[in-house]
């Protein structure tokens, strides 16, 4: 019960802190909306033509979801760690019963809630604005574990970035530097066929690739008997690994 009490206290404080930073709330939800509006509604996909957006609209759902699943935890958790360090909050927390893993669980829960809401918004917008068809099959519910574990994964990654970067500015710069190429080179917006052959093995190394492919099977190719379970398994294993590394990376001393 004590552990639950600590996680709840930390998560409640983090949730209120986030909601009261209006700029952060606005851009957390506005950024993916902007992306859907620009690429989905203005540029539009051209299924019969060539170029970057040659696939049907629903093909890009994993890409839109990846923007929030990837960018938000990396920058939020990383910045939060930098902010905690600047304000000597870890020094205080180190003398309380709360553990590093508990702290990261609390902040991950907040990110799961935020990103869950943003994902719902994205799905709704993609369907409404681009005419994408998402088959309402029971296995669509598996989107939830895909998103939850991907958020856990990138919260762990964000914690590592927060440890390695000495300032909040450094965290933002580092997370953008990492997230931007990951977003476009993980089988999200750019199909593998458009990339040089030698690059394909690198795509397999990106954790986001397994999220994107799994989500695509659920939202775009439901009839294909693709082993999405394996992809979910990979995301879960990576989530556990990154979470453990992230929790270990959270500063306790100077």
């Amino acid at each position: 019960m004590s552990r639950l009490r600590r996680v709840r206290a930390e998560a409640t404080a983090a949730w209120h802190s986030f909601l009261r930073r209006r700029t952060a709330v606005f851009f957390t939800f506005f950024f993916p909306v902007l992306l859907v509006v620009i690429f989905g509604a203005l540029v539009r996909t051209q299924p019969t033509g060539g170029g970057l957006f040659a696939e049907p609209a629903a093909y890009y759902i994993p890409g839109y979801l990846a923007t929030v699943v990837l960018f938000t935890p990396l920058s939020r958790v990383g910045s939060e760690i930098a902010r905690h360090r600047d304000d000597n909050r870890f020094e205080k927390l180190a003398t309380t019963p709360v553990g590093r893993a508990e702290w990261l669980i609390a902040h991950t829960l907040v990110n799961v809630a935020i990103i869950g809401l943003a994902s719902l918004l994205i799905l709704g917008l993609v369907v409404a604005l681009t005419g994408a068809v998402v088959p309402p099959t029971p296995r669509l519910g598996l989107l939830i574990p895909f998103i939850v574990f991907a958020v856990i994964l990138f919260c762990g990654f964000g914690a590592i970035l927060g440890r390695l970067s000495s300032t909040q500015d450094g965290v933002i710069a580092a997370s953008n530097t990492i997230a931007f190429p990951l977003l476009f080179l993980s089988d999200t917006f750019v199909p593998l066929e458009l990339l040089p052959g030698w690059f394909a093995p690198l795509v397999e190394l990106s954790p986001l690739t397994y999220f994107a492919r799994g989500v695509r099977v659920l939202t775009y190719e439901p009839a294909i008997a693709d082993p999405y379970g394996v992809k979910l398994g990979v995301v879960i294993v990576l989530a556990v690994g990154f979470f453990a590394a992230g929790a270990y990376a959270i500063p306790r001393t100077d």
Partner: protein
């Protein structure tokens, strides 16, 4: 009496800089221990060492355990330069930090204790600096700790707020809470601390009760007499076996007991020397600080042996002066 904190041979280096150099220290259960020293002397590093938030060489035990193994419910800490989440209210912050412990004091009780009941629902970032510090003290107290580390708890707090916090800390001490307190306010330390340790250059150069330290290092009492004829006054007082030094507009007489003030005044009257105000002061912890650190006030006064070349200097040195660190805060 049991020892709450024992440190033996504690050292810490930051690169070439020696932050702590072989500190030996013990704090008894229920004791209020004050740490004083100039900026950079090692006070904050020592608090971090004792709370296990920085690795050090040497041995430290807190309630018989290493600092990182001790039951966190028994420890309270207010770090220096600590800022909690800025967009939570004072009430939410006390709730938040209280929620991190197995049991915690009632939020309303803590807010009242630190004088924040009236502003409990204001965001932390909208509070004044002093109010923010009071909330931070409340956060340190929320788990009702047996051992409380406070690193400059009253920085930025106005005199009334400071007095109320001092009263609160005295209540805690009376209730048996062990307190390790750092401060630049000698008034604060002299009022609250049972024993005082003075750190300089990472070394604990003096430890004792305030009274012991003042007797050993504080010099003697001082009587400052404003007069237009300080040299003549010093001569007359000297002939009457007073230890008097002339400034430009005052004469300073050292080692005068309160009952001898009348004798000094009588000497001046007999010599026909007119005088203005008289200021008598006992040596204080501040004098100990200045004596042992070799520091002086910006005005140029300082230790009891320093000459008094001008009225301003004489007044600063003779009256209970502002705390040496106050101006820099």
């Amino acid at each position: 009496m049991n020892e709450a904190v024992v440190a033996t041979g504690v050292s810490k280096r930051y690169g070439e800089t020696v932050a702590l150099d072989g500190i030996d220290l013990s704090v008894a259960d229920g004791e209020v221990f004050g740490l004083i020293g100039p900026n950079g002397a090692g006070k904050t590093t020592l608090v971090r060492a004792l709370t296990g938030t920085t690795p050090v060489d040497g041995e430290i035990t807190v309630h018989g355990d290493t600092p990182t193994a001790v039951d966190a419910d028994r420890i309270g800490l207010l770090p220096q330069s600590f800022s909690p989440p800025a967009r939570l209210t004072a009430r939410e912050l006390i709730d938040y930090y209280g929620g991190l412990y197995g049991t915690a004091r009632e939020t309303a009780e803590v807010l009242a204790a630190v004088g924040m009941a009236a502003n409990a629902d204001s965001w932390y970032e909208t509070l004044s600096g002093g109010q923010q510090r009071r909330v931070c003290v409340g956060i340190a107290l929320v788990n009702d700790p047996d051992l409380l580390f406070l690193d400059e708890p009253t920085t930025g707090i106005d005199p009334a707020g400071r007095q109320s916090l001092w009263s609160l800390l005295e209540e805690l001490a009376d209730g048996g809470t062990t307190i390790v307190l750092t401060s630049h306010s000698m008034t604060e330390i002299q009022r609250l601390a049972d024993r005082v340790g003075l750190l300089q250059g990472g070394q604990l150069v003096a430890v004792g009760t305030p009274t012991e330290l003042i007797e050993a290092h504080g010099g003697t009492s001082r009587l400052v007499i404003d007069t237009d004829r300080p040299a003549a006054a010093a001569d007359a007082l000297g002939e009457a076996d007073f230890d008097a030094t002339a400034g430009t507009t005052a004469v300073v007489v050292t080692g005068v007991s309160p009952v001898a003030i009348g004798d000094a005044v009588a000497v001046l009257s007999t010599a026909g020397i007119e005088y203005g105000s008289l200021t008598w002061s006992e040596p204080s912890l501040e004098d100990v600080y200045l004596q042992l650190t070799g520091e002086q006030f910006a005005g140029g006064g300082g230790t009891d042996t320093a000459p008094m070349p001008a009225e301003a200097t004489a007044t600063e040195a003779a009256t209970p002066a502002a705390d040496p660190g106050e101006g820099a805060k």
